[in-house]
């Protein structure tokens, strides 16, 4: 066992013990003190771009403002997260960010779950005291899953960093300078022509409405959705994800950092491959083949026919002329029942699934 040494810090007048090596932000979160952030994602290296996580620390007789996300907590550190100086500075930082952000929350996909909107609300900011000129707009891209609006980008770099640090695909980066700075693909190429794999990790980490799921545009906002926690139905990794449901429709798929085993990450199939659920070609009614053609039937007709036919074949040839094949698409419970059906109902060990294919 590696022993982690402990240090003592004082946060808002309360002295606590934390593991050495933690940042001020992590130390505060560990004791339930919330420091607002915009550019922070626990899956990424600290970046200290947004400056919203500023706190005040004692330094000799005076105090200093530091960014808590990338400053390591040291023994004896005295930290204030709610002093007047902190609040005033944070408010100004937010106003600076808002000076380059449109105030069209009423039509924004992110309204209600936007970190910037929430912070503006908390700090009572209606207008920015600075010159306002949000530029950019929706980026033309034929890809059907990711929509980017550069006017809403706050340059926190979370999309760029998750693409580089976690995905290691390096499909997007910062470009241009000053007010014209934005994120995007090289030379504004369509995503399909870049190293982008359409995983949508950039969308998932965007704290504002700059990157959104294109398929979900106009279909509802945070408060409209019921989030149902479930397990992805594609590969064997078994990512934990949330189906965002509105009026019996799955509108989008999300995850949360800390989820086991995927830590909030999803791939292109898990995040965007759910159209099949509501696809018009879904079988919706039992079908019975009559004279070579399928005809719709009721459940009673279909189930009775199957029960009768299987019963007849069992009686005529014996149970070992019948087989059951189940699937890894099905749940454990369903595989168990298929197995029980073969052994207990039919009376044969002829039961298998697709694990060999």
């Amino acid at each position: 066992m590696v022993m982690i040494s402990k240090i003592k810090v004082t946060i808002d007048g309360k002295t606590i013990e934390v593991d050495k090596g933690k940042t001020v932000l992590q130390a505060a979160n560990a004791v339930g003190v919330r420091i607002p952030t915009l550019c922070h994602d626990p899956r990424l290296e600290p970046f200290a771009a947004c400056r919203v996580c500023m706190v005040e620390i004692e330094r000799g007789k005076s105090t200093a403002l530091i960014t808590s996300c990338n400053t390591e907590a040291t023994d004896g550190m005295v930290i204030r997260t709610d002093s007047e100086k902190v609040l005033k500075t944070r408010k100004m930082i937010l106003e600076l960010i808002l000076s380059d952000h449109p105030k069209d929350c009423m039509t924004c996909e992110k309204c209600g779950s936007c970190s910037l909107q929430n912070l503006a609300y908390e700090h009572g900011i209606r207008e920015s005291q600075f010159f306002e000129e949000p530029d950019g707009g929706i980026v033309e891209d034929s890809n059907p899953v990711i929509q980017q609006d550069t006017s809403k980008c706050i340059l926190c770099g979370r999309c760029v960093r998750i693409c580089a640090e976690v995905q290691q695909d390096y499909a997007i980066d910062f470009k241009n300078r000053g007010f014209k700075t934005e994120t995007g693909t090289p030379f504004g190429m369509p995503r399909r022509d870049t190293t982008c794999v359409l995983c949508g990790q950039c969308v998932s980490t965007c704290p504002v409405g700059s990157l959104v799921e294109k398929q979900a545009v106009g279909k509802g906002r945070g408060w409209d959705f019921r989030q149902v926690k479930t397990t992805c139905a594609y590969c064997g990794v078994g990512c934990t994800m949330y189906l965002n449901v509105k009026e019996n429709q799955v509108v989008k798929v999300t995850s949360k950092p800390g989820s086991i085993p995927n830590d909030g990450n999803l791939c292109v199939k898990g995040r965007f491959g759910f159209d099949f659920i509501h696809h018009p070609e879904r079988l919706k009614q039992p079908l019975i083949k009559k004279n070579g053609k399928f005809e719709e039937a009721t459940w009673d007709e279909a189930l009775n026919l199957v029960a009768t036919k299987l019963g007849e074949i069992k009686a005529k040839y014996g149970p070992d002329h019948i087989g059951v094949m189940s699937s890894s698409r099905c749940t454990n419970e369903e595989n168990y029942l298929a197995m029980k059906f073969a052994r207990a109902t039919i009376g044969t060990n002829n039961v298998d699934q697709c694990a060999r294919t």
Partner: protein
């Protein structure tokens, strides 16, 4: 087998702390993207990668050592690595003494399997094989990860045992961030195997054990059948020979997924009665007498078991689409109508019955996995689940070394069919494509069948990148777009399996591993022809 149970020995969360990963016959960035991310984390943490694959996959480009192995020759590579480990005295003598058996036999056998001889069969320089063996044996925490590139061969079981030999030689097993780890391809393939096998009762319980049989007979109130059961492939063989009458297929599309499509279709046509239960009209469903419409995973409750043995909840998010029903309800209803009553209010009660009959799941119930899944074995409700297997002891007692000589694939390239065809998955699609090919975002990136061809082979045949060409084997022919590059080894071509209109399994051979009955999807001989010449 070598240890006495089959599944990933270690956990996904341990990957990032591996010091060395030997990745053989697997392409996690495409087939298991989130495990790919964990491996990328390991890479960032300084983990050494050795990659053996006929294709220059993402991790091959970032590996310390890339071994472009000829498909079907993995046995030579692995046995030669064992040779080097023993010859250079790199084996873990203490581990071999206390926890294994059969070492002397292996030592004797691999004595002659020199890297030089292996180089002839594998196409890998002898020095690289030596280097791989040294790196694997001497790293502090080495883990082996493999997928279907190892198992989908007639010698698939041999391959797995040969891999296990390496772990037993070096003691890289039974500890965190080590182990022998097959990454399972499909969401619940682990759970399906746990529940549903012809020769085992749930949880790999032995149907020849009277105590086990008695337990099931008592709970179910029936006498268990005694005749040994058929695997899927022997069922298809019996269908083909007209010795099988009825087949009930749940959520599977064997016409697409089984090898040698013509043979499968002929067998299915011989049936008197075919019932298919699915969410779409599959290729198999077209031959059905009755189709029962099932719900998708979004419309039902239950559990999946992931590749690290974690039993996780699936939750109903929406009401069934149309007049569909969840598979468990359909099967239960059908059983009741056949005179054997299955009466479960919900999947929760089915799971409780499973747990009561299956020791390795006995401690799991829906309340316990409400927030996070639990990894089996979990013998009682106080047990936290098992992060990694084989600490201190193997289920079979001692780990067993297997002496496994090379067996050539059922079909090898020859004059007429000079190329070696191998198949696999892409990032954007899943298996038969039933789900992914109906997703707009996914078909945007790829939606047609392609064949990867090495630049040198393409030049020889006059094939250009992007050209539509014919891929022909002794069993059939498909048309695909040529993707010419250096990605795939010379003499090898690679085709994804997802596209019904150019089904890779029209080409593959129905030859099987004699233990698992897994088909040899990964090797057959083929030729390429230009269209219209």
């Amino acid at each position: 087998m070598s240890f006495g149970s089959g599944s990933m020995t270690n956990s996904i969360s341990e990957i990032k702390d591996c010091k060395l990963i030997f990745l053989i016959g697997g392409n996690p960035t495409d087939a298991h993207p989130i495990i790919g991310l964990e491996m990328k984390k390991a890479l960032k943490n300084g983990c050494t990668f050795i990659v053996a694959d006929p294709r220059r996959i993402w991790f091959a480009q970032h590996a310390r050592l890339y071994l472009p192995v000829i498909p079907g020759s993995d046995n030579w590579l692995l046995n030669a690595m064992a040779h080097v480990i023993i010859a250079e005295g790199l084996e873990n003598k203490e581990f071999i003494k206390t926890r294994t058996e059969g070492f002397e036999e292996l030592k004797e056998f691999v004595k002659d399997i020199t890297p030089e001889r292996a180089a002839e069969f594998t196409g890998i320089p002898a020095e690289d094989i030596r280097q791989a063996a040294r790196l694997y044996a001497t790293s502090e925490k080495s883990a082996i990860y493999y997928t279907l590139g190892i198992t989908e061969h007639t010698c698939g079981t041999d391959n797995v045992r040969t891999i296990a030999n390496l772990a037993l030689l070096t003691g890289h097993i039974g500890k965190s961030s080590t182990g022998v780890n097959p990454i399972r391809g499909q969401n619940n393939v682990q759970g399906a195997t746990d529940m549903c096998l012809p020769n085992k009762l749930p949880g790999y319980q032995d149907p020849s054990d009277p105590a086990v049989v008695e337990k099931f007979e008592k709970t179910w109130g029936v006498t268990l059948p005694k005749t040994p059961g058929d695997t899927a492939s022997t069922m298809f063989e019996r269908m083909y020979k007209n010795q099988f009458k009825a087949f009930y297929v749940i959520g599977e599309d064997p016409v697409i997924s089984e090898p040698n499509q013509d043979y499968t279709i002929k067998g299915i046509k011989n049936l008197e009665f075919l019932v298919v239960q699915d969410i779409f009209m599959s290729e198999t469903a077209r031959y059905a007498d009755v189709i029962l419409p099932a719900t998708s995973f979004a419309e039902k409750d239950g559990t999946f078991t992931n590749t690290e043995r974690r039993v996780q909840r699936v939750r109903k998010a929406i009401n069934p689409v149309g007049n569909t029903r969840p598979d468990w309800q359909i099967t239960a209803e059908l059983s009741t109508r056949m005179g054997y009553k299955m009466d479960y209010p919900s999947p929760k009660e089915i799971f409780d019955e499973i747990a009561s009959l299956t020791p390795m799941l006995a401690g799991i119930n829906y309340e316990r996995i409400e927030h996070n899944g639990i990894q089996w074995p979990c013998p009682d409700t106080k047990h936290p689940g098992t992060k990694f297997l084989h600490e201190g002891k193997f289920p079979r007692g001692l780990g067993k070394f297997f002496v496994l000589p090379y067996r050539p694939p059922a079909e090898s390239p020859d004059k007429e069919y000079p190329l070696l065809l191998t198949t696999g998955r892409t990032l954007y699609h899943y298996n038969a494509g039933t789900m992914t090919r109906r997703s707009e975002g996914i078909i945007h990136k790829t939606n047609d069948c392609f064949v990867e061809v090495n630049q040198a082979d393409a030049t020889e045949l006059g094939i250009f990148d992007g050209e539509m060409i014919s891929v022909i084997t002794r069993r059939g022919q498909i048309t695909a777009r040529a993707e010419v590059s250096e990605k795939v080894k010379k003499g090898v071509i690679w085709i994804p399996m997802h596209f019904a209109e150019s089904a890779a399994n029209k080409l593959t051979k129905d030859a099987y591993d004699d233990v698992t009955q897994t088909a040899e999807y990964k090797v057959c001989s083929a030729k390429l022809e230009k269209i219209g010449t």
